[in-house]
Structures are given as C-alpha cells and as structure tokens.
Symmetry: C2
DNA sequence: GTCTATAAATTGATAGAC
DNA sequence: GTCTATCAATTTATAGAC
C-alpha cells in the first residue's frame, strides 16, 4: 500500500464491482477483465490496487463483513427486543427477493464456492461471514436468558434454516418458497420465544 | 454413441472419477486432465466418451439422480412407516460425516455451483436433484395424511433444514454441529408426527 | 477404440511507456 | 498513478497416427 486512503475511489469501485460479479457469476467464473469493465477501469490498472485476484477476493470478503456488522449494529439500535432483532434476521432476505432467487445468499454462496479451494486462505476468511451471523444470533438468544450451549444451538439452528431456505429458493427459482418458508421459520421463532419476554426486560 | 453399453468400463470409470472430483474440488476447478488421471485414462481419450466437459457434467448429474432414486427405493422397502423413512433422510449425512464436513452435500454443493452458470442447461439439470428429494419427502408426509399444500411445505422445510445444516457444518468444519443439529431436526420431526400414526396404518 | 501431440482460446499477471 | 501491450500458463478441444 503506497497510499493512506482511496483518494480516487477506484479501489472502492473495484471492490464494489467484484462484489457484485462474484455474487452473480461466482468467483471462478468472474475474470479480472470482467471486474475491470464493470468498474470502468483498464485491466492492467487492477493490479495496481490488487496484486492478485485472491487479494481482491479478500477485500470483497472484508467488505461483506463490514456490511454485516453495520447491519447488525443498526438492528440493535432500532430494536431493544432480541426477539424482534432475530425476526429481522429471518425476514431480511424478503427485502431483496429477486437477487436471492437469482443468486442465493451473498455470503452463503461465497462460502460455498471458496470453501472448496483447499489450498487457499479464502475459505477460512469467507467462513467468518457465517460465523459472524451465528455469533450475533447467539448473543440475542443469550439476552433472552438462554445459556451458552442452548443459545449456541438455537443460533446455529436458525441460521441453518434461513441459509437452507435461501438455497432451496435460489436453486428452484421460487420466490413463493422463500416467502412461505421464511414465514414458517419466523412463526416458530415467535412461538418458541414467547415465554422469554420477562427475562429480557429484567436484563435491560 | 457408437456402442450400446460401456464394454470396457472406461465410460463408467470417467463418470465415477468426475463425480468424485466435482464433489471434492468443484466443477470449475476440476480439469479434464484431473478427471483423466483419476480415471487412469489418457486425456485425449476423454473426448471419445464425452464430447464436452458439459456433457460429462450431465452424465455426473444423471448418475447422482440414479443413486438418489435407488436410495429412496431402498428406504421404502426397508421401512413402511413414512416417519422412519423421513428419519433416515435427516440422519443419512451422519453416515458420511467426514466427506460432508470436507465437501458439503454432494447434490447441494453441485446445485450451488452450477446454479450460477446462467447460460448453461446444467443449472436446471442439477436442481432436479434437490427437487427429487423434496418430492420424495412430500410423498411421505402425504402418506401421513397431510394434504397437498401442507405436505409440500413440510417437505421443503425439512430439506431446507438438512441442507442448511450440512452447509453450516461444512463451512465451519464442525462435525459436532452436524450431529447436534441433525438430531434436533430429527427430534422435532418425531414430535410433530407423533399424532399421525393411525393415519398411516389405515392407509396401509 | 486408443492414444499422442497440438491447436485454439482464455486469463492471471507483468513490463514498461507516459 | 495510469494505461497499453504482451507474456506465460492453463485448459478445452481437435487432428491424426496406430
């Protein structure tokens, strides 16, 4: 790095373009030329900002992580009740049905693809996106009074259900499935957490 | 095709090798040379059996579908009770924990990768593997007395949960997660289907 | 049918002018 | 810092001898 920040905005633009294309087409399918064109930057220039395609992917993963953390921070500000927060985690994919149907979960599909590149550190990096979501969900269950193990298992269960639903809806290209199943998950979540309202308020 | 069957067994062997490598490394990462070496067949010979890499992938998908159908047929023979049949669907991944942790679900991960190749018929072909499982699960729920819509939604929910669990366990490389969450799914399945035993026996 | 050698195309990465 | 031109490696696919 020879610069303190991205003065021209090209670096940021390259990350945005790569993020978009990796999501739509996958990491392997997307060429650096594709990214360069999408970002309106000459191909050769890409290597000024990112020495390798892999380092570009790492920047993309970091960008995803930042977005996720911002989202969770916002949800925490907007809702004190951990049940409502978890509800948003479940129904969030409904805010972008079309892209979920077309390309699946932005984080999940990236983990899936990079997870098979064994000789690469990208797999471990990407998996942190999933870990981030589980950890956050676990925190919410803990605020409802669940202990360490209980909260962990419920968080894993919830994230697995949402991920599996997005995957199925994407694979079968069914917006209907996405809506129906996410609502089922949400309904069960609401039912299961009905008796933990007091614990929350006491914790406040 | 100039032959009625695979007399030398090389065609079958190539499919087996490709199936294995696509699962472990992914479709894009696996080269025809990799497949040829794994099958102990010279590279140039691959094109005698499969004109393109895509046609090899189609054969792999067909082989997966055949395996799935055989498995379901066997489960139907071994158990009359649809609840037990569905139980096997849930716990089956525990019979091959290591490969699931290492590479995820053989069908799910294939669907995920091929699903992003838009200009290819492979996506639609692969998605039939998932559809097959959902359809089979739906049949079992129907035999328990559930109507068309109910059985469909419960089948989708079950498959989504199992797929999501395999995906999470694979991404986080956690055999513990796989076992814990699959057992949770099975437990809930058993609880929810407790009151539908009569309906089954009457149907027999 | 089987195999070697190679063509043809793609693509990540680099060199070097400006 | 920016961009053009090009290298080097990979990989799908084909040609043609045996």
């Amino acid at each position: 790095m020879t610069r303190a920040y991205d003065s021209s905005g090209k670096r940021t633009e390259l990350i945005r373009a790569a993020k978009h294309l990796f999501y739509r087409q996958g990491y392997r399918t997307t060429t650096l030329d594709n990214v360069a064109q999408e970002a309106a930057v000459p191909l050769g220039n890409v290597h000024y900002y990112f020495q390798t395609k892999q380092s570009l992917a790492e920047a993309v993963i970091a960008s995803h992580a930042e977005t996720l953390q911002n989202t969770y921070a916002r949800w925490e500000q907007q809702n004190d009740d951990p049940r409502l927060r978890l509800g948003r985690l479940v129904t969030a994919p409904l805010d972008s049905v079309e892209s979920v149907i077309r390309s699946g979960c932005p984080h999940g599909s990236l983990c899936q693809e990079l997870g098979k590149l064994e000789d690469s550190p990208l797999a471990a990096h990407a998996s942190q996106l999933l870990a981030l979501s589980i950890d956050w969900a676990q925190k919410q269950f803990q605020r409802m009074g669940a202990d360490e193990r209980q909260s962990r298992e419920r968080a894993e269960e919830l994230v697995a259900a949402v991920q599996g639903t997005m995957f199925l809806a994407h694979t079968l290209r069914s917006p209907q499935l996405l809506a129906t199943q996410l609502n089922r998950i949400k309904k069960r979540l609401d039912e299961e957490t009905l008796n933990s309202v007091e614990g929350v308020k006491a914790d406040e």
